[in-house]
């Protein structure tokens, strides 16, 4: 069974991510233990609420270094919602806070949005062939967010977008680092398929 570590850094309700991985057939642990995390086949960074608070919690809990170490060791890594935003350097939501800086660029307030936050199910459009999104063209996912990654013209990491006023980055990939702005753990069947895709990546790193 694929072992997934859901990083526990003392913010909000992280249970739903762990539970969704269990339903998808993984052995999922909510943990911040270094040995457990580095011995796992995949690492998940969930996130809810405010970028600055999450960034601070990352530092305070020691999970920041652990996350970077997991990536360095080549363990497939998935950031969800604010967890995806934390892959970037900074966010306009909390300009003083530092993300993990694994992706270059920053996170910005949604532009031209009919309402902020975007709180709804929305359809994604695939922008690149990614093992994470196999079989998920035009599928519907559950979004709750006011900020999103800025289009980066130097580095192409976008694997899916959705339309909300304008085009919004919905999912990203760089090597074995993945991020989804939406919540696969709350996106029913499509979400489960995405998590299963991630588990396959964890089984056989490409």
């Amino acid at each position: 069974m694929v072992k997934v570590a859901v990083l526990d850094y003392g913010i909000g309700n992280l249970r739903s991510a762990q539970k969704a991985f269990e339903i998808s057939g993984a052995e999922a642990r909510l943990t911040a233990d270094k040995d457990l995390v580095l011995a796992s086949d995949g690492v998940v960074l969930p996130g809810v609420g405010n970028f600055g608070k999450c960034a601070k919690a990352l530092t305070d809990s020691g999970v920041r270094e652990l996350a970077l170490l997991a990536v360095e060791n080549g363990i497939p890594f998935l950031g969800i919602c604010v967890g995806m935003q934390l892959l970037y350097e900074t966010s306009d939501e909390s300009p003083a806070a530092q993300g993990l800086g694994l992706f270059s660029g920053k996170v910005k307030m949604l532009e031209n949005a009919p309402r902020v936050p975007q709180m709804q199910w929305n359809q994604i459009q695939l922008q690149d062939d990614s093992p994470l999104l196999r079989g998920l063209e035009d599928e519907w996912f559950y979004f709750v967010h006011s900020y999103a990654a800025e289009q980066n013209h130097l580095e192409s990491t976008t694997i899916a977008t959705c339309t909300y006023g304008s085009s919004v980055i919905a999912a990203v990939q760089k090597g074995l680092i993945f991020g989804t702005q939406f919540h696969p753990e709350k996106s029913g069947k499509a979400g489960r398929l995405l998590l299963q895709n991630f588990l396959k990546i964890c089984e056989r790193p490409e």
Binding site: M119, Y142, E185, G188, K189
Partner: protein, 253 residues
């Protein structure tokens, strides 16, 4: 924003029931246990589940938490819960169980600050406005007030409530169609997204709701229970209609 279908599970004593026009003496108990019912809705493609703790709606204290928690644990779609939520502590209890959105009914009338308070904590909250002939009813629909549904919804336009859920009691559980007249007035007068509840019985009723439009504003969704349980409507078919806008345009005159 697409039109969302909220399959409803109404709970009394841990069981899945439907009432007729809100009358507790006219309940139908459906056999499936609520958790497997919720899982069936999810596997049919539901994007949300709407739960009502009918015991709590009447008494003001939650009675079906075990089932609600079980549904949140087993499902991977957002769940909203209404019925008897009259304090922020009760709401917090539900959010901690994994509930995505609470629906505040009676308390929204009697203690409007509560909605603001819950929303301020960053939680998703809806106002549940139940009406009889256009006037607000509270306390498990036992009390009708002299407050108009439209006026109550207006109060919440900038309260942090993201959506109003409007139930016409005379239609609820009847499958005789929604109160289109009332909904038309609400869409025209009120500046908050509205989910309609009560009365859906046929595919025509459904198209009526999806197609309803007043000055460019449309319904955000519908809550439906009995029509699904009685197999008058097929959830998968309804969902496929909402996911294909062209289909909606074609079928609706």
């Amino acid at each position: 924003m697409s039109f969302v279908i909220y399959p409803a599970i109404d709970l009394i004593d841990g069981k899945c029931v439907r009432l007729y026009q809100g009358d507790y003496a006219k309940e139908t108990i459906y056999e499936d246990d609520p958790i497997s019912q919720a899982l069936e809705f999810e596997s049919d493609g539901a994007k949300w589940i709407h739960l009502v703790d009918l015991d709590a709606a009447r008494t003001g204290s939650l009675k079906n938490t075990k089932v609600i928690k079980g549904i949140c644990e087993k499902l991977s779609i957002p769940v909203q819960v209404g019925g008897g939520i009259r304090s922020s502590d009760t709401a917090k209890l539900l959010y901690d169980m994994g509930v995505e959105r609470t629906v505040i009914g009676t308390a929204a009338v009697e203690d409007p600050e509560l909605v603001l308070q819950i929303a301020k904590h960053g939680h998703r909250v809806a106002v549940g406005v139940d009406g009889k002939d256009g006037y607000v009813a509270t306390r498990g629909w036992k009390v009708t007030t002299d407050l108009k549904v439209v006026d109550l919804l207006k109060r919440f336009e900038s309260s942090g409530a993201e959506v109003g859920i409007v139930t016409e009691i005379k239609r609820d559980g009847t499958m005789e169609g929604s109160d289109l007249e009332g909904l038309t007035q609400i869409l025209g007068d009120v500046n908050i997204p509205v989910i309609a509840s009560g009365g859906l019985g046929s595919i025509k009723d459904f198209y009526d709701l999806v197609g309803l439009q007043v000055n460019g504003s449309k319904l955000a969704g519908v809550i439906t229970g009995r029509a699904l349980y009685e197999k008058c409507l097929d959830l998968r078919e309804l969902i496929s209609i909402t996911e294909d806008p062209e289909h909606v345009e074609l079928k609706h005159d």
